[in-house]
Amino acid sequence: MPSTRFRHRRTAEARCRVDWSHVNSPHHHAPTLARNLRPNPQELGETPGRAASGSGRPTLAAAQNADGGWGYFPGKQSWLEPTVYALLALSDQSGGPAFARGWRLIRSWERRGGGWRGCAVANQAHWATSLVVTLHAAIGAYDAAFERGVAWLTASIGVEGRLLSRVANWLEPNIVEFDPALTGWPWQAGASSWIEPTAHALMALRSAAHASSSQLNNPHLSHPEAAHRIATGERMLLERRCRDGGWNYGNRRVLGADLPSYPETTAMALMALNGHAGVRWEAALNHVERMWRETRSPLARAWLGACLLQYRGERPEPAVACPRAGDDLVVAAVDAIRWDRILA
């Protein structure tokens, strides 16, 4: 009979041996795909990363609040979302003082009831908890807080899977045409699944999957439900793809009318699908590149650029100028994040 301590360790290791085969199955070609689509920076005559780095870092450096966080705009209240994006942008300087101040704030915002609060004022679990998990993975902080974040994310689910919603959908399927069995993630507890929170949750859980496969002796990693949630979330994204090949903010067809896709949600969905075999990637990325060249939205361009960075390792020159982005710190941060490294 093993000692209690030994038994605990065995259990932890067993729990770590979650079946992530789906994530590494032939359905996912991300590493190969990325290698094939991404040119070698040296071949382009660049120092590695030059094509990838955005110009947002100076903006971020100047806009950090005294509490260590970032607002959506300079001088405004710190929020979880822009703070995590800023820290992801600075994650290669995680030993620096700016990162340390932001990290301390993020760690203090974890809620006892699970998840992270959206800002100091609002003590309710926030969808950007998924970004916190991704941040932990990006800097290799596979600790208890990371584990709790993954657990919260795994338990967070859209309400469309509930019996009442499924019956309503069965009775009137043409109101919103989607499969309610394919649940993703909501913006807030008690609400339905939408594209953006689902995309971020998938990116976060996949980072947890990679952590699990590389950190087998880490007792903090145990996510038996996560692989199932990833698989279902991916199917949800694919099922909600619009007729034009991109993604709307939520659905593809309402009251018999096709909905248009948006560039930013299209980019996020493709980033989350991470090389899934259900996507014709060359065509999808060419579409993303066209949108990148044509969009006048700075935020859309930032996300489209992130998607191209993830899969191709570079961004082309845009054909049209964006109207002034104002001082939107999410745009600055998303533009500055090395997504090819974060999601590698």
Partner: protein
């Protein structure tokens, strides 16, 4: 009393200074206290003809403001257009010419500060949407006046639609002396019609509730609309019905020229009047029925000024699910 104030200040969070919190709590308490008292004395609704956006809209608005007894001298005014989304060539949002004329109206009325605020429901790049909608070109100093309500600083409001947790709302909106809902006259595929009251959904911060603000649908559209109206009783409605939207609104419907601007201090009365113009029975619209304790929706109790409803009635097409709201 002191205990209540302290409790409210605590809920506002550590990021707010005590002075700011006290001022804000006083504003919010004043808003709540005035909810019931002001509603009954302001059911004047003005209907002004305007055949196109190239007419002198400021003149129409000025006459409408006078007809409704609108005063704004010294007030901090939040002008809230309807920019739920932008679709090229469609009539989704409040027209830029109307928004520009509204800003000019409040300048002329002597407002101390005019802020334009909106939190679009579907897409996150608010400034881009404002650019595409023509707002930045049409409104002088637009960027300096504009606040993205989806991503503003927030404060907690305890009472909202009988929910346990209340709601978080933008400080800019809570601190306004007057919230001016500048809506487009549209049908709505979940609510029947979207006018000045439903336009208040745009003040709810997407940063917490998402894009779309699906939480409000889970609470119930009708309850949420009325809950927001209770929080912002010091409001004024201006509905852009010069060209409205019929059918599968609020985004995918068709343009429906109607040739009117509708204004008033009682949002429920303005919306009920708009419904009658559109050929919709306001009693069949859930949020208007629920709002009948806050404002007037019965035509006998609304003092109609300007054009009579019958003279401007324009039958808006309704989707099959809402045929039952058709005015008999």
């Amino acid at each position: 009393m002191i205990a209540r104030r302290e409790l409210l200040q605590t809920s506002l969070g550590a990021a707010v200074s005590a002075g700011m919190a006290a001022a804000l709590s006083a504003t919010m308490a004043c808003q709540r206290a005035s909810t019931r008292s002001v509603a009954r004395s302001r059911a004047a609704v003005a209907i002004l003809r305007a055949a196109s956006y190239s007419e002198d809209l400021l003149d129409r608005l000025w006459r409408g403001a006078a007809a409704c007894g609108l005063e704004a001298r010294g007030l901090r005014v939040l002008v809230k257009p309807n920019l739920v989304e932008f679709v090229p060539g469609a009539v989704v949002q409040t027209d830029a010419a109307v928004l520009a004329a509204v800003v000019e109206l409040f300048e002329k009325l002597g407002a101390a500060e005019i802020i334009i605020g909106e939190g679009p429901g579907h897409r996150r790049d608010t400034l881009f949407l404002a650019e595409e909608a023509g707002y930045r070109a049409a409104v002088p100093r637009f960027d300096a006046r504009f606040v993205d309500l989806n991503r503003d600083d927030v404060a907690h409001v305890r009472e909202f639609a009988d929910t346990a947790g209340g709601i978080y709302l933008p400080r800019t909106a809570l601190a306004a002396d007057l919230v001016v809902s500048v809506a487009r006259m549209k049908t709505h595929h979940w609510a029947g019609a979207t006018l000045a009251m439903k336009n208040l959904f745009g003040v709810v911060p997407g940063a917490l509730y998402g894009w779309p603000k699906n939480y409000l649908h889970q609470v119930g559209i009708g309850r949420s609309v009325v809950g927001l109206y209770r929080i912002f009783p010091r409001s004024f409605a201006i509905v852009d019905g010069i060209v409205g939207m019929e059918g599968n609104g609020p985004v995918q419907g068709r343009a429906r020229p109607c040739g009117v601007l509708v204004m008033g201090r009682d949002l429920a009365a303005v919306d009920a009047t708009c419904c009658r113009i559109m050929g919709i029975d306001p009693m069949q619209i859930e949020h208007l029925r629920l709002a009948s304790s806050l404002g007037e929706i019965h035509d006998m109790k609304i003092e109609q000024r300007g054009e009579p409803v019958a003279q401007v009635r324009t039958r808006f097409e309704l989707i099959p699910q809402f045929q039952y709201v058709r005015l008999g």
